[in-house]
């Protein structure tokens, strides 16, 4: 990718005025993002097969669940919380992965990390009889880590190391392969929780506050690791030699950041199943708004990821009425074109 550096620099220079104008208003964007998140959360509680009015929402929030409307609201509350949390985790995980690998195509879905977590959980349930949600989380994180190491290993074989296209190809192929294996493991076991669908296509439909409680510590740890590594990711973005010259321990910084990303992706997959493309789309959009400084990019990615997944979940409930569309299906429909757009760009610039 060395030869591409001049064209990359030129593109950046052309985008610079726009970027500067946009990133100067970061606090404004942050406020707008929070507002949007609040609005989407309200909409997510109100909208669905049965649309609920404000009075009922207010009643349900105060703990009254006497009527059908308030019951619907109280059933949608954990779902809304989970969509926001999972979206934030996936957006953040994608942003870290793009920073760690300096690859614009990195995303826990595309790199096969989510499918790896899914396969691990499925194997754990079917062959080792794990049943508790805590065990799911550990297994998923283990699977996510193994898949990440595996894909990165394959993608960096050969000349030029882990180039964006090679890494994406290795990840996408691994993801397809894992998805096949998930089907093979789950299909004979009709008794598996959620069945085959939920382990091949992620959704937030079956959310409970108890389930969220089980993954929350892992997510919190992941968020913490992510925020600590923001500054390190900035150093890594300069290139390994330069980062080392600034006194950064490159390998260690990478390992911590990657651990955070894997923790977030694995814990999310343990409860939602594999949801793709959120981690791809969100950081790209945020980079336009905030610039490349990871101290801003990471929180923004979390915020935007939460908004995106909430919106996708609401959309999934609306377009297939009276049935529901799993949020993983919606994100694939929305994210596919973005993926193709990035692949299509003349030269894929390293981040």
């Amino acid at each position: 990718m060395r030869a591409n550096a001049p064209s990359g620099a030129a593109a950046t220079r052309a985008e610079l005025p726009l970027r500067r104008a946009l990133s100067g208003r970061r606090p404004l964007w942050l406020a707008l993002g929070l507002l949007l998140l609040g609005a989407l959360a309200l909409a997510s509680v109100a909208v669905g097969t049965r649309t609920v009015g404000w009075p009922d929402i207010a009643l349900a929030l105060r703990g009254q669940v006497d009527s059908i409307a308030t019951a619907a609201v109280s059933a949608r509350l954990p779902r809304t919380a989970l969509a926001a949390l999972a979206g934030a985790a996936l957006g953040l995980s994608g942003a870290i992965m793009q920073g760690v690998t300096r690859n614009p195509l990195a995303d826990p879905g595309i790199l096969g990390v989510n499918m790896g977590a899914s396969l691990a959980v499925v194997i754990g349930i079917a062959w080792f009889g794990i049943t508790a949600l805590e065990q799911y989380v550990w297994t998923a994180i283990l699977g996510a880590g193994a898949a990440a190491v595996f894909v990165y290993g394959i993608g960096s074989l050969g000349r030029g190391g882990a180039t964006p296209l090679k890494l994406a190809l290795a990840g996408a192929a691994t993801s397809v392969a894992f998805s096949s294996l998930v089907a093979a493991v789950v299909l004979p076991r009709a008794d598996l929780a959620g069945g085959i669908r939920s382990w091949q296509i992620g959704g937030v439909g079956g959310a409970t506050f108890e389930g969220i409680g089980h993954v929350a510590p892992f997510l919190a740890l992941g968020f913490g690791l992510a925020m600590i590594s923001a500054r390190k990711l900035n150093a890594l973005a300069l290139g390994d030699e330069l980062a080392a010259g600034f006194g950064e321990r490159v390998a260690r910084a990478r390992a911590w950041a990657a651990a955070g990303a894997i923790l977030l992706a694995g814990a999310t997959t343990a409860i939602c199943g594999p949801i793709g493309f959120v981690g791809l789309v969100v950081p790209h959009a945020c980079r336009l708004l905030t610039g490349t400084d990871h101290r801003w990019l990471l929180p923004f990615s979390a915020l935007a990821g939460a908004c995106l997944l909430l919106a996708a979940d609401i959309l999934g409930r609306l377009i297939a009425r009276p049935a529901e569309l799993d949020v993983g299906i919606v994100t694939a429909l929305l994210g596919g074109p973005v993926f193709i757009w990035i692949v299509r760009r003349q030269r894929i610039r390293e981040l």
Binding site: L105, I154, G155, L157, G158, R159, G160, L165, K166, A168, L169, A170, A172, A173, T174, V176, A177, F178, S180, L181, A183, A184, L187, P188, R189, G195, I196, R197, I201, G276, F277, I319, A320, A323, E324, L325, D326, I329, V330, A332, L333, G336, P337, F339, I340, V343, R344, Q346
Partner: protein, 348 residues
């Protein structure tokens, strides 16, 4: 070095070498054909119970065979026929794509053409209530549309292999979502049906479904085979092939059209049986070696894969699987292996 290390290359020697290679190719094809025939016979005889060959023959030749008529004629025969025809279609079309794009990863089931045909078939059945020829036509058109789309999207002053494959993977993720969406809107989400359109299955086969498959296989398969020599020449690169007298554009368009039709018509019946198109070509090439065209052997290998996969999925494994899950589990490790090898060589 006063003497050449090899005997001088003369015309008779080249002819002898060529004959020898052709003989090897013929032997491989014959062996595969015998294996396919034997498997078809075996799947007609074996199932939950054993039916003696004489009984099977009585059913096939239309004589009265009270005990076996239903099991053999209604259950096993349609299944075997569909497995044979769909496998051959996928195998040949996959090999044609791989040869044409000179990349083993560029098979129609990885770059989304099968998913396109499958999405169209699901849409046609669930939303429009189509069946038969109209359904096949819709699948063919969708497959062609996806092929054109992928080509257009990955064209940037020449086709880069990796870009084409990644664009295809992106499209196929979207199309799989479309399939899931349509199935979610269907009156009842039926796991068997969902598995058929996402990974392929020959469950519930009927004999009348085999007819369009057979016709397409004969017409389009013949068309592709008639271009086999052009395809072999195209392996050398477009410019070389053009210099050697191949009409590159026309040959390519013919082969793509025929291969997409093969894939789409088969997919409209059985769903996109996972990885058969992707696996058949490389396995066939390994069996025949670098001699002769891999198309016919690939068709036979495809038939073999689906027949074996379906039989294993029904009777050999602890649970009953649709054939696509079995071939998917077979193909998945090979896909990863192929990527590892490609990266080692530096092909991507």
């Amino acid at each position: 070095m006063s003497q050449a290390p090899f005997p001088p290359i003369t015309a008779p020697r080249i002819a002898a070498l060529r004959r020898q290679r052709l003989r090897g190719w013929r032997r491989a094809v014959l062996g595969l054909a015998i294996a396919v025939a034997a498997l078809v016979a075996l799947t007609l005889m074996l199932g939950q119970s054993f039916t003696p060959p004489a009984e099977v023959w009585r059913v096939l030749s239309g004589q009265d065979a009270p005990g076996a008529a239903f099991v053999v004629g209604q259950l096993r025969l349609p299944r075997a026929a569909l497995a044979l025809l769909a496998g051959a279609s996928f195998g040949m079309a996959g090999a044609a794509f791989q040869i044409l794009l000179r990349n083993p990863l560029a098979s129609p089931d990885i770059i989304g053409i099968s998913s396109g045909a499958s999405a169209a078939a699901v849409l046609g059945i669930v939303v429009l209530g189509l069946e038969g020829a109209a359904l096949s036509l819709m699948a063919v058109l969708a497959g062609l549309g996806v092929a054109v789309l992928i080509y257009g999207l990955s064209f940037r002053g020449g086709i880069a292999g990796t870009r084409l494959i990644l664009v295809g993977i992106g499209i196929s993720a979207m199309l799989d979502s479309v399939i899931a969406y349509v199935l979610a809107r269907a009156p009842s989400w039926d796991l068997q049906e969902a598995m058929r359109w996402l990974t392929g299955s020959v469950n519930g086969a009927r004999l009348d479904q085999a007819l369009p498959l057979a016709v397409t296989l004969i017409l389009c398969g013949g068309l592709i085979l008639s271009r086999a020599r052009d395809l072999e020449t195209l392996r050398l690169g477009e410019d070389t092939a053009a210099a050697l007298g191949v009409r590159v554009g026309r040959a390519r368009a013919t082969v793509i059209l025929a291969a997409v039709a093969l894939i789409a018509v088969a997919t409209a019946v059985t769903g996109p049986i996972a990885f058969v198109a992707f696996l058949s070509g490389p396995i066939a090439a390994r069996m025949t070696g670098p001699r002769g065209s891999a198309l016919l052997p690939a068709a036979l290998v495809g038939a073999l894969l689906v027949l074996v996969g379906d039989y294993a999925g029904q009777f050999l494994l602890p649970a009953r699987y649709p054939v696509g899950v079995v071939t998917g589990a077979l193909g998945a490790p090979y896909l990863i292996l192929l990527i590892i090898r490609a990266n080692r060589i530096g092909a991507t």
